[in-house]
């Protein structure tokens, strides 16, 4: 197992029902401080609902989530979220959107301005400060969405298929950007995706959901050291992990957990 840090998020026996339909049940896993946990599963398996329950945007039907030891009822302070469809306010400029979390917390404009400027630089949106979301490409909108999430210096960052609405090239670019940004600011992160490659590239561990109602099939250690870059996808370890996760998600009947790639010790070198 990872030696990352203390447990930041504990998902404990989580269950969600809509009427009689059970979406998922018995979902239990931890996210440590500074760790990225990818959550994969076939579409419709409740990944997004799981994420919304985890941060207090939806009520679980059973079980609980603890963030920093506190049971989550409403979204706790220090949680930020990045959305598949960006969730930028179309009537606000890029700057105002990024500053939203700070403005709502009552931070003065003068105090927020340098922070926002730094974030705009970090995500590569210089020159678009006064643009409106509709004037930006999808990739640029998600950069703003990411900057808005980072603005509050979150201790928990949840991402709901953040790159799924983007074209393949933009997605590749933003994945690498996120890896780069991740090296400078760390939080406990839950990264929901239906892309298995993305799950392996981003995650320290991967939670695999499957079945109907879905439950955790397995939790895999990715075991690729950080900092990561594009070369990670060429490694043997990447291939092995991806292959296993792929077969697990595709409900390969003959797949046994015994075949899972061995956990590696040297997952992260420092911190």
């Amino acid at each position: 197992m990872t030696s990352g840090g203390d447990t930041k998020i504990r998902v404990d026996g989580l269950e969600k029902r809509f009427g009689d339909r059970v979406v998922f049940s018995g979902v239990t896993f931890d996210v440590h401080e500074g760790e990225v946990v990818s959550i994969v599963g076939p579409s419709g398996c409740g990944k997004t609902t799981l994420l919304r329950c985890a941060v207090g945007l939806a009520r679980p039907s059973g079980g609980e989530v603890r963030i920093g030891g506190e049971t989550v009822v409403d979204p706790p302070e220090g949680v930020a979220m990045v959305f598949q469809h960006f969730g930028l306010f179309p009537w606000k400029t890029v700057t105002a959107n990024i500053a939203y979390g700070l403005t709502v917390r009552g931070m003065a404009k003068r105090e927020a301005a340098p922070k926002v400027a730094a974030l705009i630089k970090l995500v590569g949106l210089e020159g678009f400060e006064k643009s409106y979301p509709y004037q930006l490409s999808g990739g640029m909108q998600q950069r703003a969405g990411l900057a808005r999430a980072l603005a509050i210096e979150p201790s928990v960052l949840v991402m709901d298929e953040p790159f799924a609405a983007l074209d393949a090239q933009t997605r590749d670019v933003l994945q690498l950007e996120l890896l780069r940004i991740w090296d400078t600011r760390q939080a406990a992160m839950m990264f929901v995706t239906h892309s298995i490659d993305e799950a392996v590239l981003m995650g320290d561990r991967i939670v695999i959901l499957r079945g109907r109602p879905s439950s955790i099939f397995d939790i895999v250690d990715v075991g690729i050291p950080r900092p990561r870059d594009r070369s990670a996808v060429d490694s043997e370890r990447f291939r092995v992990v991806r292959d296993y996760v792929w077969r697990a998600v595709m409900q390969d009947a003959e797949l046994a957990t015994a075949e899972r790639p061995a956990d590696t010790d040297a997952i992260r070198v420092t911190h």
Binding site: P75, E77, M81, F83, W91, G101, V104, Y134, L136
Partner: protein, 281 residues
């Protein structure tokens, strides 16, 4: 990583790229198309007016209005200070009524759109009022308000408020879940949720409702004047028709139409200028 950064800046907003290329290409044909359709429109108008003009001169008594006589009367009617006063009182009543309707309609619409319980209670009544010919209410209004300008104002508000309520409720209902998630994650206070997210999201719908409300407001004002005989454009029109001054009545009608067109043009301008971000779902 520097290579990555270079690719980033290449992500130009798609709209800018497309419009530049298309504009250069389509300029010639677009100009021709606009000229052609404008020409046809004018031609159709001239033909209709000519049919009216000749139809009346050939087959109808002399007091029936014709386009030419109406135009001839315009200077005289406009020079009449009584007409000016009538125009002023009616148009001001319509503007006042629309303003009241926008405020009430927006508030009611926002609440109905966001709170399903309120919608369950009020929705049926709003729907009923929308289906009802409100003209039938005017006699009641004259009982409640007397034969006064207030009765006219009440009628204008009643007519105008319903399409605004409907549209705003729709706009408030369609606030994307993501937007509300953002407000919850950041613990935005209620006034920031309503004023900063629900209202801005519904603003294009306020204007769309107002656009529909203009025609109804005009009907309300004119009908109220017909019934109550209080001074105004509607009563001017009725009085002149009844005293066989049909051409004068037509001038009053033209003023009403021009007023409605100007208001609607202003609103459409506001939508296209002020709400560039708005993309219907």
């Amino acid at each position: 990583m520097s290579k990555v950064v270079a690719t980033l800046t290449d992500e130009v907003a798609p709209e800018t790229r497309a419009t530049a290329a298309q504009a250069a290409d389509a300029e010639g044909s677009a100009a021709r198309r606009i000229l052609g359709s404008t020409g046809l429109r004018i031609l159709a108008g001239v033909v209709l007016l000519a049919i009216w003009q000749f139809g009346v001169t050939l087959f109808a008594p002399a007091y029936i209005a014709t386009p030419l006589n109406t135009v001839k009367r315009i200077p005289a009617v406009f020079a009449d200070p009584a007409f000016g006063a009538d125009v002023q009182t009616t148009l001001l009543a319509i503007i006042e009524g629309l303003a009241i309707a926008v405020v009430i309609g927006t508030l009611v619409g926002l609440v109905m759109g966001r709170l399903p319980d309120v919608n369950r209670v009020l929705g049926m009544y709003v729907g009923t009022f929308y289906a009802m010919p409100l003209i039938a209410v005017v006699p009641l209004l004259t009982v409640w308000f007397g034969y006064t300008p207030e009765a006219r104002l009440a009628m204008v508000v009643l007519e105008a408020v319903l399409p605004i309520v409907y549209n705003v409720a729709e706009g408030a209902r369609l606030v994307p879940t993501n937007f509300l998630d953002v407000t919850k994650i950041h613990h935005a206070p209620w006034w920031r949720v309503w004023g900063g997210v629900v209202l801005p999201n519904a603003l294009p719908y306020v204007l769309a409702g107002l656009d529909l409300a203009i025609g109804r407001a005009l009907i309300g004002a004119v009908v109220a004047e017909f019934v109550t005989a209080i001074p105004g454009l509607g009563y001017y029109l009725l009085f002149n028709v009844r005293s066989f001054h049909e051409n004068e009545a037509m001038v009053a009608l033209l003023v009403l139409v021009a007023f409605a067109l100007v208001l609607r043009a202003l609103i459409n301008l506001a939508i296209s200028r002020g709400f560039r971000w708005y993309r219907p779902a």
